[in-house]
Subunit: 307 residues, 2 copies
């Protein structure tokens, strides 16, 4: 059994490669839900959706989120009603949010709903939200505090970041199966996701970090920072804002208490010794995933690391 | 000021003609909300939507409901999630339901929401739900009891009707402005809507029938039954099931306690005396509205009746 901790787009690329070489049923993915947001009364789980759509093969391949060939007729009409339209809601994508909101209203947990959606989409991987409890990633900026999605999409990550808080995290509990999965896997992969707002919320759910320290699994991270920047998303801006070095070393520092291995990009080879001094084994390779071959190759290198 | 009591498609045709000859601002429309239904957690007001879309000029002209050129991508996806898809939800149309549900959740009344939607759609007519309270039209059939929309759409009105009940009607109150509008108008029009499930719910909201009896307005009905059948919808089946004569006379009997004038179709000329014996003045004309000219002509004939 393998467990992956995942955010959205970066993680999904790697996971898409991973399920080419292992059985879907052998993979558990613990997904960040700190980005979850209510838009016009609908409960949206951006990272869960990206992971599910990607593994189902229906994700929009250009954007990395949403459903391919989806259009935005409903959103356009919502705009006519004066509602904010910065959160992109495709017409097919909306079905997921309507369904999830409907089931939540009827007492289902986010975990149960995720299972139902996966089943409908033909995804056999065991996808787990980090928690069934409400956690909200709030970005403190010079322009005020805002939900992460607002910072990311509406404000286009332009505001200087002062702090990040996960509202509700103290009272949150890991979703059923999360701790068990981490403890019982032979490998735990920290996907190349934003360390501040994708992986850190997962690590901050009480009990999860402790399980990562306790597990006998080999815990392997993949850097989301390559050559001092990110492939996608605002990880670099967030790290810089919070005073972290924007490098694989900066990321490794965040995971040093439980990480066994760290995969960095060849371009950051020079950081290898610095990271190994933290007691983490480092392997450098090409971490850029442009196509399925790249994804499979990187996944294979990760699995080989465990040997 | 003119007040119209309205259901969906039949009413909307006439109202579309009416606003060609009177100022939109002079018209109040009291709309049936007994058909309101929650579908997948969304609050849908079928008759309000038909009236608003029609007066806004965005209704699907062939179907008489929904938004023109709307497509059904979201509904198709909801179907993949295993949800029932018999209730037609176009992608643009969905925006109305999402918006309404969102505002209801935030404490707005259906009346307030209807005003907001009308404003966004550029409709200046004062459209009032019959009540802000929940009323549900339940059809008792040989195949069991069901919501009217289920009887109409899912079951295609095929089940023998035994009874009709408006759940919640006893405790419902007329929406703000409804009674005032009926009492202060010079003309009240009962649109050619289903007498059993469109007009009767309105009449059954405590206080409305009394206001119709008390008003000094000329109260004019337009028959929805022409030549023993209906133009659209199951009015004939419902009337037959409940033991009413399927004719303008059968309809007039339902309104006899407050109706001053009744417009019937030329084809039913033979019923004129029978209806006039109820103390109702009858005018026969061509009541079939195939195009805007028909709609305007019929609206004009109704208004001329008051003179």
């Amino acid at each position: 059994m393998i467990t992956a901790l995942a955010g959205g787009v970066g993680a999904s690329k790697l996971l898409k490669g991973l399920i080419e070489i292992i059985k879907e049923e052998d993979l558990n993915i613990v997904v960040n839900t700190g980005d979850d947001i209510e838009v016009h009364g609908l409960h949206i789980s951006p990272d869960l959706d990206i992971v599910m759509y990607t593994l189902a093969g229906i994700v929009d391949p250009k954007k990395g989120w949403g459903i391919k060939e989806d259009i935005f007729n409903c959103l356009e009409m919502l705009g006519k009603y004066g509602l904010q339209t910065w959160f992109n809601l495709g017409d097919k994508d909306l079905a997921t949010h309507i369904y999830r909101t409907y089931l939540l209203k009827n007492g289902y947990t986010l975990s149960e709903i995720t299972k139902k959606i996966c089943k409908s989409l033909g995804v056999k991987v065991n996808i787990l939200p980090m928690s069934d409890d409400k956690v909200q990633t709030i970005i403190f900026t010079e322009k005020g505090n805002m939900h992460f999605e607002e910072y990311l999409i509406k404000r286009q990550s332009q505001d200087k970041v002062l702090d990040v808080k996960f509202e509700g995290i103290e009272k949150s509990r890991p979703a059923k199966g999360v701790i068990h999965s981490i403890l019982k896997s032979h490998t735990v992969i920290l996907c190349p996701s934003n360390p501040i707002v994708s992986i850190n919320p997962i690590l901050s759910v009480p009990g999860i970090r402790k399980a990562l320290k306790a597990t006998k699994a080999k815990v392997i991270g993949v850097t989301p920072i390559v050559g001092g920047t990110t492939i996608k998303g605002p990880a670099d801006k967030l790290m810089r804002g919070l005073g972290f070095e924007v490098s694989p070393y900066g990321v490794a520092l965040l995971y040093r208490d439980f990480l066994d291995n760290f995969i960095i990009d060849n371009i950051d080879e020079k950081k290898k010794n610095q990271i190994e001094n933290l007691g983490i084994k480092v392997k450098s390779t090409n971490t850029i995933m442009k196509n399925i071959t790249d994804k499979v190759r990187l996944a294979r290198e990760i699995l080989n690391t465990t040997k």
